[in-house]
Symmetry: C2
Subunit: 341 residues, 2 copies
């Protein structure tokens, strides 16, 4: 047998002097077929190393059993934990997963959506590229295949959205700082109004209001790119103020770690002088000194949940397009950066 050759039903049928139909049925354990025949067929199939061509099967059944996934950046840790959940759940349910990256480019994202529908995926899981504005492209895809959004979502797209309890999580994080006795709590958030940043900011505001703490515009800082470097830069600005904050809530771990790096540099005691809380529970949050208090986002569960909702829609396609939001609970992981002395 030469290399790269795949045995087909036809070959088996020829060798056994049976019809293709019978061979197919025998392999699929169809009740009609004689036990003896089944045995013979299966034996030869094993010998000839036969395995069904799933592509042909999918083609016939008009169902690919493939889920397409589009994420902004695959090497972002939180994203990779979601992907892990997606892969696990998809495998359990008998689906394969095609992954692609939009690199936060809307153009690329549209291209990916097109390839995926052309390819005939049964459904699409997507976390939106930053600044996704031309929702039309996504809506057009929605006519072809069900979509479930996760993490970076948009209410403008009428479909199921799997997110964490952003607002509540931020509320809890800030309340934790207040209970620690902190009163001048700065926030480092995004300039652009992403779903996530907006919700976390709302939680911050609500916590302050709820506890009767005055909102100080001066210590509400924003940045385009919510990274370690900008977390550090904005913290330096906070430190240059006449009246420094006594806590910093950064809406990402990266920015919070940047903040800690800045505070460490000036030998400011954490959490006594300034406490810090982040968001994500990334691997780095346990590496930084002092270890970072942060919101744990269960990526695995988000991924699994998104897959479940998507497969539900694949199995029972409904024509009523609705925006449904599914919230996954998070927990605050308290570490040294905000531990009561």
């Amino acid at each position: 047998m030469s290399k790269r050759h795949n045995t087909t039903l036809k070959e088996l049928a020829l060798a056994l002097n049976l019809s293709i139909s019978t061979v197919s049925r025998a392999l699929n354990d169809h009740p009609d077929i004689n036990e003896k025949t089944k045995e013979n067929v299966k034996k030869l199939a094993r010998q000839m190393n036969y395995s069904p061509n799933l592509f042909a099967r999918s083609f016939r059944s008009q169902k690919t059993n493939i889920i397409g996934v589009i994420v902004p950046n695959i090497s972002h840790y939180f994203t990779s934990t979601i992907l892990k959940g997606i892969l696990e759940e998809a495998e359990i349910q008998g689906y394969r997963v095609i992954i692609s990256e939009s690199n936060n480019s809307e153009t690329k994202q549209t291209e990916m959506l097109n390839t995926m529908t052309q390819f005939g995926v049964d459904g699409i899981l997507m976390s939106l590229a930053r600044k996704t504005t031309k929702v039309d492209d996504v809506l057009r895809t929605l006519n072809r295949a069900p979509i479930v959004l996760f993490d970076k979502v948009s209410q403008k797209i009428p479909c199921t959205q799997v997110v964490i309890n952003e607002e509540e999580a931020a509320f809890n994080a800030v309340e934790h700082l207040i209970e620690l006795g902190k009163e001048r709590i700065a926030i480092i958030k995004e300039t652009e109004n992403s779903y996530n940043s907006e919700k976390r900011y709302a939680g911050y505001l609500r916590a302050l209001e709820h506890h009767g703490i005055r909102i100080r515009e001066k210590i509400i800082l924003s940045t385009e790119d919510i990274s370690l470097i900008h977390g550090r830069r904005l913290t330096n600005i906070l430190l240059s103020m006449k009246k420094r904050p006594d806590a910093i809530f950064a809406i990402t771990d990266d920015a919070a770690i940047g903040a800690i790096k800045a505070l460490n540099k000036f030998k400011i005691k954490i959490p006594e002088e300034i406490a810090v809380v982040g968001f994500s529970n990334s691997a780095s949050s346990k590496i930084i000194q002092p270890e970072l208090t942060t919101v744990d986002q269960p990526g695995d569960k988000i991924g699994r949940t998104a897959v479940k909702y998507l497969i539900d829609e694949i199995d029972s396609p409904s024509n009523n397009i609705i925006t449904k939001t599914v919230e996954i609970k998070t927990t605050l992981v308290v570490r040294d950066s905000s531990l009561r002395a």
Copy 2:
């Protein structure tokens, strides 16, 4: 037009009162077709939101343009950078990528190989699960589709293997410590003889020999699971010795970071008393205090290279099975954990 409906060539043909053949050729800009006809066809195709069913096309051409990827753990940072490279290069070359995780289980790995060949992927990229012993399964797959291994490879599998210059990289890392004036250099490696651990250990030995430094068995430590926790544990053992080492070379960043955490706890000066060098240039290596000297592994390049070699084999299937090793160069990133005072 109802939801979830895909226009087909047949429908276009019917609407235009043309044959399916003509419509197909018009859309593919076949020179035989009348310009006017092409225009009409294309116009209607746009109106009816037609896009070709790639599944049908693949089915006919017996080529899926899909690459299967199997990795032990998708959320390992280094792996995700390789995946990034794979996705980028695959897209450029017009391939789609199916990703799955073996979770370091050989059984699961075999299953994935089977599904992928059944599915008819054009080729497979794989990083082996730990302790892959039953090479037979992989060899059987090799009869169906070309395989290129990367990172976790095995010489027992006759195929192209894309790796980094493990031995040389370790040699350079240890030589760097020697040039710093260190003489009692401990190594933290894996118990099990993985390709990577073996090569790095060989580089360590060669560097010591090359510089006429005696090899001390006592400070050559091994662990099953080369993680932060075990890096810390083994470092504690090193610290309990009568004569402590003056440097630690850990064959992963995780273990090196564990080492630094242990040293920090005992307020041991890094690098003056004990210098530390890791391997990977993970995100965490820039977070830990002091920042970690480590070997930068260009994941992106590894991924791209693996895709290129695989597509070469897909395009020109050769029957001569050979083991070819492709080495990607690394660089040592010197940071505070080994910086001359």
